[in-house]
């Protein structure tokens, strides 16, 4: 469809513009502040280049991505299952939704002390915090979408003799996929914020958040800005490239 390609180009142009704008303000701040408080953009980029050549950087990145994958993945699965169940069983729907809305208002990072004591110092509390952050928007979007699946789509499947499992797999799941993807993108934002902050607090083995916190502790501002840069770029790449691609793949029929 021509409109989707034009909006694609327009959004790409918007991104280039936004990045230039952000880097410009950073550089302006660097001109006014002493370099030990705010490094020049090119200095941070130089450090980034150097980091990209070091094994430690990839070890930390790998740890962070592993935690993100485990927590975010678990949250997506649990969110879809609970969302579908909650959306189809009207008895549990309202209380479940209320519980999610209450729990959702708690910042994920607030769970860290609890999980840290419950699960001990290690990967687990970080993964669980990431999962908690990602679970609520996923479950809520799937539940809302399940409720509003068109009556005629359900009736038609019942008339054709669909079993309960077939109904979930072939009708409900694809019907809620558009909203699920929107929810999953929202959930990714939550998961990413939860990951970095939990890593900063817990500081267990290498990771993006720990690396950022450590740079701060030793007052290495170039390190701080480099880490922020990495965090920002990675989030944008995962959200705008990876998740968008998954979306176009799963919702192929909408783009024809």
């Amino acid at each position: 469809m021509s409109t989707s390609t034009t909006t694609g180009v327009a959004s790409k142009r918007a991104y280039v513009l936004a990045i230039a704008f952000i880097l410009f303000f950073w550089q302006v701040a660097a001109w006014f502040l002493p370099s030990f408080l705010m490094p020049d953009v090119h200095v941070a980029l130089g450090r980034l280049w150097q980091e990209l050549g070091s094994i430690e950087f990839y070890a930390g990145l790998g740890n962070s991505m592993g935690r993100l994958g485990a927590g975010y993945g678990a949250a997506l699965v649990a969110g879809v299952v609970l969302g579908l169940v909650g959306g189809t069983l009207s008895a549990v729907r309202s209380p479940l939704k209320a519980a999610i809305i209450i729990l959702q208002s708690i910042p994920s990072i607030a769970w860290v002390p609890l999980f840290l004591i419950l699960m001990g110092f290690g990967n687990m509390p970080i993964i669980v915090v990431v999962a908690v952050g990602a679970f609520f928007p996923t479950a809520l979007s799937v539940m809302n979408a399940t409720e509003s699946v068109e009556r005629v789509h359900i009736d038609a499947a019942r008339v054709m003799g669909a079993s309960r499992l077939q109904m979930l797999k072939r009708i409900y799941f694809p019907a809620v996929t558009p909203e699920l993807i929107t929810g999953a993108q929202l959930a990714f934002g939550n998961a990413w914020r939860a990951l970095i902050s939990a890593e900063m607090i817990v500081g267990f083995s290498a990771g993006l958040g720990k690396s950022l916190a450590y740079s701060g502790e030793i007052a290495d501002m170039t390190g701080v800005m480099t880490n922020i840069l990495v965090i920002a770029v990675l989030a944008a790449v995962i959200d705008q490239v990876l998740l968008e691609r998954v979306k176009h793949r799963l919702l192929r029929y909408q783009y024809l």
Partner: protein, 260 residues
């Protein structure tokens, strides 16, 4: 498959939709239900499909009370009943896959049925890529592929333009003649009822009661319905449409409680 209605009553809270409906539809008979919108015809159809339960009385298919949907009693909806995330072929094959037929066989049969309704070449299209008429052809293929003994049609062509509707009526008639299911058709279109049905039941406004029954018999028919002009006028009059150009007499709008 014979359908029996015994004192079928349906109400939603205080709202009486159907009151003591009695009728028997013979195996292979084609019956049209016409009446004002919102009179409960569709509810009656949904009860035969097993999607809704009667408040009182009983609906029986081949002597057995209808309790839940079954593929032998299939329903064609007005529109939007195809799944937008599936191609036409996948939509049609689904009817067999839900009956646990292997996907490959189901797909092959789906392609055959799509070509039977003249949709050959459109197997890979998604519903939103084809016209409303083509979507309803696909819906017919999906209904017939399961070889139903009872075919229920809920204003199947209501959303189509007049010309497409007549074409689809011919397609449907041909399929019915070849497959010979028992057919119950709910429609607003009197000509559609006369063209397709062996028997026409005219309903009153809510709560739905039969005002009059017209038996046409199972005879060959074309879209030229001049032979049925008298019946057509009478049905329309029952529905409150005056067909006699006589300003002196106004035909009264039928009220509940009038039965013939």
């Amino acid at each position: 498959m014979q359908l029996q209605f015994e004192k079928v009553t349906k109400s939603f809270g205080d709202l009486n939709v159907i009151e003591a409906f009695d009728n028997t539809i013979a195996d292979g008979e084609i019956v049209a239900l016409v009446g004002p919108s919102g009179c409960g015809k569709s509810t009656l159809l949904h009860m035969v499909a097993g999607l809704q339960q009667a408040t009182g009385g009983s609906v029986r298919a081949a002597g057995q009370p209808v309790e839940k949907p079954a593929p032998e009693r299939t329903l064609v909806f007005q529109e939007h009943a195809l799944y937008p995330w599936m191609t036409l072929e996948e939509n049609v094959a689904l009817a067999l896959e839900f009956q646990d037929q292997p996907a490959k066989e189901a797909r092959a049969k789906a392609r055959q049925w799509l070509s039977r309704v003249k949709l050959g070449g459109f197997e890979g299209y998604y519903p939103h890529q084809v016209s409303g008429g083509m979507r309803q052809r696909c819906a017919l293929a999906r209904a017939f592929i399961a070889r139903p003994k009872v075919l229920l049609l809920d204003e199947p062509f209501g959303a189509l333009d007049a010309l497409t509707r007549m074409t689809l009526q011919s397609v449907l008639k041909e399929l019915i003649e070849e497959e010979r299911p028992t057919v119950v058709l709910v429609t607003h279109d009197v000509d559609e009822a006369l063209y397709l049905a062996d028997r026409v039941l005219v309903f009153s406004q809510r709560p739905a009661r039969v005002l009059k029954e017209f038996t046409l018999g199972h005879i060959p028919k074309t879209h030229d319905l001049t032979a049925f002009a008298d019946i057509r006028c009478e049905v329309l009059a029952l529905l409150g449409i005056d067909t006699k150009d006589d300003p002196g007499t106004e035909s009264p709008i039928p009220n509940k409680g009038v039965t013939a």
